[in-house]
Symmetry: C2
Subunit: 284 residues, 2 copies
């Protein structure tokens, strides 16, 4: 186990990897960063984070058991997902079925593929949910700031960590476009009613984002949102021929068709500037 345990702790943050593994040296650096910035806080990486099984951080069973163990541990205050990729959807329903009372008092933080879990937890009203940078974001250029941003929010509820449009008077949710598309209509679909839906994307052709936005904005559940904001769409592969519309034009197009207000940009994305978006009513 990689952690800065020892002495009395003001807070314990557990880290599990529901999708793909994180390297132990990256985990070690995250622990060191946390120790410098928040001396009273323990960041505890579950050994499962370093397992590998084909594409995943261990088998489905490994990943589910680690998540359930830490989520149900009353000594852990927050669960931080190590990294995205793919794999959460394979364990989400089993995890949700086995969460107990201590999970309800926790904060859960992550984004990208972890969105499957965040959505399911939010749907079932389990814990305090937020989109935000994950430990493995440390490997990005400027990733230390991203990791520090999430830690500051987890530990101190730092307002500086929040996406600027997060508003105490409004409810929000934030998802990766592809992940959101793949959880619509499943048991993980959250409540969108009256929410500001913030979206972001990475490594997808614009034509694919166009097709995903058709799907997303056609959902009667999604059409109940108060509006959509678009975060950054990064590493877009070059379309041949040129797609001729930007991601923002695409999102505006589908919002208009679905009579969903397009509210402008959001300061989220697969990058070091990615901000924290607490789901639901903003809890200071």
């Amino acid at each position: 186990m990689i952690s800065n345990a020892g002495g009395m702790r003001a807070m314990r943050i557990g880290v599990v990897a529901p999708s793909t593994p994180i390297r132990p040296e990256v985990a070690g650096e995250v622990v060191a960063l946390a120790a410098r910035r928040h001396p009273g806080v323990e960041v505890r990486f579950h050994p499962q984070c370093f397992l590998t099984h084909n594409h995943f951080a261990g088998t489905d069973e490994d990943r589910a058991e680690a998540l359930i163990e830490m989520a149900n541990d009353p000594e852990i205050d927050a669960l931080w997902f190590a990294r995205g990729g793919h794999g959460s959807c394979r364990i989400a329903n089993e995890v949700l079925a086995r969460l107990e009372e201590p999970a309800r008092r926790k904060t859960f933080l992550g984004y990208s593929d972890a969105g499957f879990l965040l959505a399911g937890l939010y749907r079932h009203g389990i814990g305090r949910i937020a989109h935000g940078p994950m430990p493995n974001d440390l490997v990005r250029e400027g990733g230390g700031a991203a990791v520090a941003r999430s830690l500051a929010w987890l530990v101190d509820g730092s307002e500086a960590s929040l996406e600027a449009n997060v508003d105490p008077a409004k409810r929000a949710v934030a998802f990766n476009i592809t992940v959101l598309g793949q959880l619509l209509g499943t048991d993980l679909e959250p409540d969108f009613d009256g929410h500001i839906l913030m979206l972001e994307e990475v490594s997808e052709y614009t034509y694919r984002t166009d097709r995903s936005m058709f799907h997303i904005t056609s959902s009667p559940a999604v059409r109940k949102v108060a509006g959509i904001r678009l975060g950054r769409c990064s590493l877009v592969p070059e379309n041949d021929p040129e797609f001729g519309e930007s991601e923002e034009q695409v999102v505006r197009f589908w919002c208009e068709r679905a009579a969903i207000p397009y509210l402008g940009q959001a300061d989220i994305g697969h990058d070091s500037d990615n901000k924290v978006v607490p789901f639901g009513p903003f809890a200071k």
Copy 2:
């Protein structure tokens, strides 16, 4: 207009391109192939097939108007979609809203991105719908056989063109996995109840097929199918690390979780061997 018109015609097949354009020389070869094999049959390519607008075969308006014009033309017996790609979902709802009586007597044939249209037509009970090779399949190696297979089915209802598991006593539908995922929950979602659902995929990472199959098999509507058959998944990009499960293992995995019978392979795919799958009760 590229067509083998002239004299009395036993049958007229109209071709439109709801997604991406086909080259005029390919259209010309398809017309020539049809003239050789079925002298009494006219294959008429709408000029819209050759338009280009960014990614698409003309603007949304161009594509919708051409499709509506040919679908509502009482002198045309069948509508054959020229090619897949992306674009059908942008026009499908408008097209469906404007189809008139002559469209109801037509056969509609295509696959891949055309699946958005096939699904919506089938949902609304408009025409006779089938998955099968399209004119632009001519450019594939051995593509002449694919095009001839669809023509033989359109003109003579050739049983040799049919996927071998198509059964007069059972209802079937066939879709590309990604396209099906993106139309679930939309106004294009067809009736799956009691149907054999045949699936195929092209150019998708196995992890993406895994994620799509979570989505598809989680749908309560899809769970009403009589069973799933998997066609060919071709041009799968190499996963890093290796995914460790084949597409068939992935589909079996999700079928088992969803208590959907997995019925074995289907003889469909993005290739020259792709067979015809009429939707719904098999009409000889």
